[in-house]
Symmetry: C2
Subunit: 539 residues, 2 copies
């Protein structure tokens, strides 16, 4: 090649580069885009944009589908499928939507790192174990406390379940996702979507944040060791990004061990850097946690019983279950764990006693059980149920292969509901009702409505009611939680951050509203966790 | 910014880019560099150049150390530390060394991918199981066959251990690293450095390649299920790149499951994309393989007993042992597995019966045991020994905590040898001698020398002899292997590919040379594996 030709190529290349540069986002815009993407999009679409609950959003894919910036803006504004109408709901402003359309058509930025050293550096013990009470110092009935996530406030409120009084508001990480309880109920463990884990001591005079650690950059799950002899010894955080799980000391949250979950799709497909821990439960049958690895479609049984030995052995039983695992819970006997694989419309069943994958049950479109609801049905025996985001159905599954083999791992009843868009269902052994919300239903009326079915007669039409005042607040009723005795259940009215809303308290037998928890602090209440029911997996 | 200024910046940027481009390697040169790097460098320095047995070679690190292209060329030419003098030995030509110096100062290219689909596509069954013999069809004493790696020929020779006749030459992958035997000895499993796994049936009229699969792009280890009831059921390949292991059907080599080994350094350090499976052994105490994860410093006990259940569960016990794990073998009772962590000068000990990490024994500089050598010493009881690459020492370790607790997991004897640069030691229950080579010693005389110590009297000076004719061939004596009865041992003369060399056969008691295996086919012989001893872990 002659030099003149060479320079011509160089010049052409730099012109192309300059044009690309002229169209690109500024570093500040990229930062803002990354921030919005993390808060609103990554959960469903993945930080690498390869899709999970939501579709693949890689720029090449979007371009191949012919999606222009204008089309993307329209979708973000108006929502699509299970995706909220970010614009219409006023969550994203027009200039933010404009930015996001450009951001999505730009190359995927390399996600940041978060190493064990970073976790360790972030670890803080606010109250050393030696300075904590040795018996409850509160005169309240702390076992009936409710931990209430005030989602967009970055707070958790502790409310007395007996008196309905606000006991304490604690600052937590960004959009706390869930609370879990130590086996004795003393500690609440909170995990923020920003990966911040916190331990809250309920035995102090007032609930106190005793330890914290930023375990990852994006997380959804936390649990604690519940097997006899290991109660409260360890905690575990399941991370979205980086895709791993971290074992912590249960008392101090000291980071102990970090295990990557990156791997191959069901051990036979492509390699995934983003292979997220969707949910965790703690076994009562063995010193194990059950972790659900979303993109890889694997369930990992993690045995923590040898962590105290030389080399901190941790044993991971890797089972190929179903893809895009999400959330799940225990059947009535706490032996069988059922987890939704929402993209393949299935419920995978793990036997915690034998460690076996026993069944994969076809259900409706996008099952979303939370932890599900479980009870003893007069005909079908012990059953477990899940609602669906995209179907107006509740699937009731037989879970008793010993006593009721003919119904085991079959949908014994597909209950028709008033609308798709259910997020949570719940019951309690002392309540005759199965309660459901319609939080992501397409109509404001459904969003404000709750329904209850008789657990012993699923053919009976449900009792449904619109919660008075919810629509006026533009609130969605979300997440049902019973009190310790199961005599009442609470449901959050999830409105905008700027609007104080309420938590409605219902009689668990008559379904009559007993009272409302209100106050200026009641903003964006979502998940609620009763100490006794959470510690003992009652749902 | 004004447009004129903007264009000035663009022009400056393109000039800088052009200069960088002018200095850079052509795509063909990059390809050649990658090829040479893979064949000669990646094993010790890692494909991402982050270092392992060898030093970190990332371009930024090299530049920070002030290493010019000239300095790098000098090191490649003359060798350094444990690194061969690639130039002086005539393995790399001056223009190749020149290229490699530039290649090492250029950015690390992204290593290629190799997915489960690729493995599956590469899988070939040459002889279906139904068409294989049901009993040995050879009249030879196949249990005394030797599989001999002809390293640079990409071949494995099967030699009759009774008659010393060449039985068959089989084409195998690039630089076959090891052979392993099925529990019954019928099949040889070969693994090439290029990740090609092969099964050779010794029951056919003549040894036959019955199945193959290219499991990875770079590999070192293979083994088979040896536990009672699982004999020959599964095979496993440990990969360097991509860093994972793959479970195969033991009879057909059908790929069944792929598990990533990428993870955190000893579960508490940085994340490693290159976290290689260094070696594998098959437990006799449980349905487990023991895998050594080099960079991460973990030993994984992989239980294959539930692979036939729904979801193909595979249980991995992850133990933090020592960093830069390499090779290892069983103690006399086959209960304790000892593995070298060569960068930290330690031998890690795993109890295959309890699955515990029992000890970490400090030894000399860069221990390189191969599988080691093990015998019952009159004073110390059962011992296991390793030589060293960088020390003129053989470390003898007590391995009997029950019978000889005072010696267990201690170096009971540090034997002084004639030179550093030992690669392999070996013995047999029927031989009174412990034999050592000096393959990577700094002098041609040591390379051609073998030494033998009396196992029952380690203080006695060794018998050492220079192998006649080896130096003339510029050969290095390497790898000792005994025959089935332990009456003789064979050592390879590893010369240049262009030069036929020999395998020397010695009487295992008198140490007299009995015969030499020669022929035009005897080129670059290295590892040798006797069927009976390999199947039964006798060393």
């Amino acid at each position: 090649m002659k030099w003149s030709k060479f320079w011509l190529i160089v010049l052409a290349a730099s012109l192309t580069g300059a044009l690309a540069f002229a169209q690109a986002l500024s570093p500040e815009q990229v930062e803002q885009g990354k921030q919005i993407y993390f808060q609103r999009c990554a959960g469903c679409h993945g930080v690498l944009r390869k899709g999970a609950t939501g579709k693949n959003l890689e720029p090449d894919k979007l371009k191949k589908e012919g999606l222009s910036a204008e089309a993307i803006k329209a979708i973000i504004t108006n929502g699509m499928g299970g995706m909220p109408a970010w614009g219409k709901l006023g969550i994203l402003k027009p200039d933010e939507i404009d930015l996001m359309a450009k951001f999505l058509l730009s190359p995927v930025p390399e996600p940041p790192k978060w190493t064990f050293a970073d976790v360790k550096k972030s670890w803080k013990v606010h109250i050393p174990v030696s300075q904590r009470p040795t018996k409850p110092e509160t005169s309240r009935n702390w076992r009936n406390f409710f931990g209430i996530v005030l989602r967009d406030m970055g707070q958790v409120a502790i409310v007395d379940g007996d008196t309905k009084e606000l006991v304490k508001i604690l600052p937590t990480g960004y959009a706390t996702h869930i609370l879990r309880s130590s086996a004795d109920g003393r500690y609440f463990y909170a995990i923020g979507r920003d990966g911040r884990a916190e331990a809250i001591d309920l035995w102090s005079k007032e609930p106190t944040l005793v330890a914290e650690a930023k375990v990852c950059l994006d997380a959804r799950s936390i649990d604690t060791s519940k097997f006899k002899g290991y109660e409260g010894k360890y905690a575990v955080v399941g991370c979205y990004w980086p895709s791993n799980f971290v074992v912590l000391d249960g008392q101090t949250l000291e980071p102990l061990k970090m295990v990557s979950t990156q791997g191959y799709v069901q051990s036979k497909g492509e390699f995934l850097r983003e292979d997220r821990v969707a949910s965790i439960v703690s076994s009562h049958f063995s010193p194990e946690w059950i972790l659900n690895i979303k993109e890889g479609g694997q369930t990992w049984l993690v045995n923590y019983s040898q962590m105290n030995l030389k080399g901190q052995p941790l044993t991971v039983k890797m089972i190929d279950t179903d893809r895009f695992l999400h959330d799940g819970g225990w059947a009535l006997d706490k032996r069988y764990f059922l987890v939704a694989a929402n993209a393949v419309k299935k419920i995978a069943v793990i036997d915690a006693k034998t460690g076996e994958f026993v069944a994969s049950v076809p259900v409706g479109n996008k099952p979303h059980p939370g932890r599900g609801a479980t009870w003893n049905h007069p005909k079908y025996g012990p059953v477990w149920a899940t609602g669906h985001i995209k179907d107006n159905k509740i699937a009731v599954i037989g879970t008793d292969p010993q006593g009721h083999p003919q119904y085991a791992w079959k949908v014994v009843k597909m209950i028709e509901t008033i609308s798709p868009g259910n997020l949570f269902i719940k019951t309690h052994p002392n309540s005759p009702w199965l309660i459901a919300d319609f939080t992501v239903a397409p109509t404001p009326k459904a969003n404000a409505t709750l329904c209850a079915w008789r657990k012993d007669d699923l053919d009976k039409p449900p009792v449904c009611w619109e919660v008075p005042g919810a629509r006026k607040l533009k609130a969605r009723m979300v997440h049902i939680e019973f009190n310790k005795g199961g005599s009442e259940f609470w449901v959050s009215a999830w409105a905008n951050k700027d609007t104080p809303s309420f938590i409605a308290v219902y009689d668990a037998i008559t379904l009559q509203e007993k009272t409302r928890i209100t106050g200026d602090w009641v903003r964006t209440p979502t998940g609620k966790f009763n100490v006794y029911n959470t510690a003992n997996d009652i749902y």
